[in-house]
Homo-oligomer: 497 residues x 2
């Protein structure tokens, strides 16, 4: 057999084992009885071990070497080889003890982080965070994908991206966003946010969310929506993609926009070309591109006026009391309230990027050893003041708010903002090629945007790296100005400018 | 390391892999989107392959040989070795091609069976059934656990049981049951079955079923109930046991008694001593003993008068319209209606055994080649007339009603009736040792029966084989007369004798 075919065969098994691990994880978050976590942890560990053994096998190493000698690989085979090598090297370059140490530290770190956040006491988390940072620096030095360690970590989530490239992009956006935020803040005609903080029946919220994803062409023959504490998207095979949401009776946005966000991730996962189903390249090409899909559907579509021209009458029927004496325009403005705030996950489209920039800049200094862990709380608060003009009253609402660092995810945060930027650039192209899209939303037709995304993004999975993909689609590299343009065009009118 | 300890370690991994397979299966029946079956099938096959490889490994064979040389094994170690050897031999004695051929035939056979049943045309299923019978005869000849092939197949589900032993027991019960059925049928004061066939709200049925299992001490911290097309019980670890039920709006018994039945299985699975958790002996000791638990809770408890003295007022509150002008006594009698009928799964406690005896007698002749597959429909109808005095109007309601044969389950049916017999004998002992049990049910206390079952049955898992277990508990071998006694004592008064 051709070494590429053999490699594909091996990785199809590995991919299937990873789908099974995904089922263990999905079930853990959606169904697992409280007393069953320990047993599940042992099953997770066993499956990790089986996958690890398959990945580090000599057989795989030899196959990759043989395959690398082949020339004229087609697109799919080349991507397969690239991703196979990436997965193999990640596994062989990291000593098992290091991986185990990270897993242990993450597990203990998570519980310490929960405790520290609860008691609003950073010092409880500090020793574990210090240890985790040390381990992540070690990971970077073992992998050495890039000369600087932070870029190596970023590369784990956004293949090919580097610290410098991201810094350039973020630095360009930063002053522009600050200017916009200040201008919006100066408006004398702000939206009425309180519309969203009435009592919203859980049951009706759930039903509405299902109604919406059906219309957005989330395929319930090949997926489902459930509830979990933290919304997420996972694929249990290339024909089984599941999203979750959570419901807050006191705040409308949590459920619906969470649903649309995950639906955006889900549509990506559902759209890989059949030829690559259940292979190593049946996945999003980078976290940033994945996030572009979720944010596009959530914000550019789901928070657009045209979207609500279709949905508002249906929402009124479900919640007649909540929306009595409110207009569609009131509602549209309320879901687009811009407000510097403390918590990233609750931030609006405009201020969101600042939360990410803060983390990106801090992470770089942390991984390069330029700041001590003990200084982080103060540094965080200073940066919040600088970027958003607010100072967290407590570390719980500051440096302790995110779970990521406790799990060792350094380099992950920047992909969130990259997602917004990729999203704006791709959406601009979609509108250029299909100017009638927003009009179609008004009539409840969302399939042409999906068709565009399927054709240009989804079908390819990991075939093209992010930088190639964006250039193929839009003819240029990632350009953060499209996001700024989008923000200005949308939010100035909302705020009466 | 001691070979027994090594064996335990190996089988703990195998057990965990089997739990993961159980999750794949549970999810398939409870959650899987319609378009995702193919992908799941590939995952099932992959996990089977991984377990198969582990089971047939030389390492395991050698460990078993070494362990067999050890003397003075304690109970747990002896049972571990026995079950390890059983699992190993089952895997090595059956050629992979045979196992694959059975899987393929079962898969195709199932679809042909569905079609044949739908079109009421046995000839569609006949060729596949013939093939499956041939394969099962081959299985028996490879395993040769007993001199006669049908006993070898029975042994797969009821270890240690043989055709002759079961035939003796069934032959003793058969005329007695026929006598009882005839007597009940002659009554002029029969229950009003129509109470159960009103419209029963799905939602209230579901809530009531949850209320009941909570009271029966089904531990929702270590388990859950969901809905599926066919009710079943499965463990995803020794601390995660899940049951399912189905709801029929037009028939009350389906959901509640299905729930209590599976709850009985579930309580067994939840009750293994902690020392054997997640090991190869953390399972029911035989299908018959397992069924004794489900049938005991379903019928001896759940269809008892004392049970309803507690629950009927609660049921009245949930279904005031359905139970208006009905008494607890009316209801109690209706759920204990005895009626010769065509379909096994819908049969009452009294006639149920006859359905099983029919299948047992036919299976023996089939496996011994004494009847041709083409003769089965007629033979079925003749036996139904002989045993229950009814003749199926169609093969769909006759020989085609059960899924088992299409899957190759020959030797499984007798365990259903054995379950009733074991159940009656164990329950008699429980009442002898705890005469106040029924009185306790009236007060909503079901924990003393569970304590008794935990102590005498559940905790041991597979430590004792069924024949040893029943003797340890009741001081004698399985004695079918206790079931007959129980039936007479319960049903004669209901029918006014």
């Amino acid at each position: 057999m051709n070494p590429i075919e053999e490699l594909k065969h091996e990785f199809t098994e590995i991919t299937r084992l990873n789908y099974i691990r995904a089922l263990l994880g999905w079930d853990e978050q959606v169904n697992l009885p409280h007393g069953a976590f320990e047993g599940r942890a042992m099953q997770n560990a066993l499956m990790s071990k089986i996958v690890h053994k398959k990945l580090i096998s000599d057989k795989l190493g030899k196959l990759i070497k043989k395959a690398e000698k082949l020339t004229d690989l087609n697109l799919i085979d080349a991507a397969t080889l690239r991703e196979a090598k990436r997965a193999y090297e990640l596994e062989v370059k990291l000593p098992t003890e290091l991986v185990e140490e990270i897993a242990k530290t993450a597990s203990l770190g998570h519980s310490k982080w929960v405790e520290a956040r609860k008691k609003d006491d950073f010092s409880i988390f500090q020793p574990l965070l210090e240890k985790m940072i040390g381990l992540q620096i070690e990971v970077a030095s073992k992998l050495e994908t890039h000369p600087d360690p932070y870029s190596t970590l970023i590369d784990l989530y956004e293949p090919g991206a580097t610290n410098d490239w991201i810094a350039n992009i973020f630095n360009e956006s930063r002053p522009k966003l600050i200017k916009i935020i200040k201008k919006l803040d100066s408006s004398s005609d702000k939206p009425d946010f309180s519309i969203l903080t009435q009592k919203w029946s859980s049951d009706e919220q759930w039903k509405f969310s299902i109604e919406v994803i059906k219309k957005l062409n989330f395929d319930l023959e090949h997926g489902r929506q459930d509830k979990s504490a933290h919304p997420f998207t996972t694929s249990l095979s290339s024909t089984d993609t599941r999203i979750t949401t959570r419901i807050n009776e006191d705040f409308f946005s949590t459920c619906l926009f969470g649903t649309i966000h995950e639906c955006g991730h889900g549509l990506y996962q559902m759209g890989f070309m059949e030829k690559i189903h259940d292979t190593i390249i049946a996945d999003g090409c980078s976290m940033g591109i994945h996030e572009s899909q979720s944010r596009m559907w959530e914000n550019m579509v789901g928070r657009s006026k045209e979207f609500w021209k279709f949905w508002y009458p249906k929402l009124e029927k479900r919640f007649p009391k909540n929306l009595k004496r409110k207009s569609m325009e009131d509602f549209y403005r309320s879901i687009n309230t811009v407000q510097p705030s403390l918590i990233r996950v609750d931030a609006d489209e405009v201020t969101y990027g600042m939360h990410v920039i803060l983390r990106f800049e801090m992470e770089k200094d942390i991984i390069e050893g330029k700041v001590q862990v003990g200084e982080l709380p103060e540094l965080w608060n200073d940066k919040m003041e600088e970027l958003l003009g607010v100072t967290p009253p407590s570390d719980a609402d500051g440096v302790l708010q995110d779970v990521h660092w406790s799990s060792g995810y350094f380099g992950y945060f920047p992909t969130y903002f990259l997602g917004n930027l990729y999203g704006a650039q791709i959406y601009r192209d979609a509108l250029k090629k299909n100017p009638s899209l927003p009009e179609e939303y008004q009539n409840g037709n969302f399939s042409n945007l999906l068709t565009y995304l399927r054709e240009n993004v989804h079908q390819y999975g990991k075939i093209y790296p992010a930088n190639e993909l964006i250039k193929r689609i839009t003819g240029e590299d990632l350009n953060p100005n499209y996001f700024i343009e989008y923000i200005e065009k949308k939010f100035y009118p909302i705020y009466g400018f």
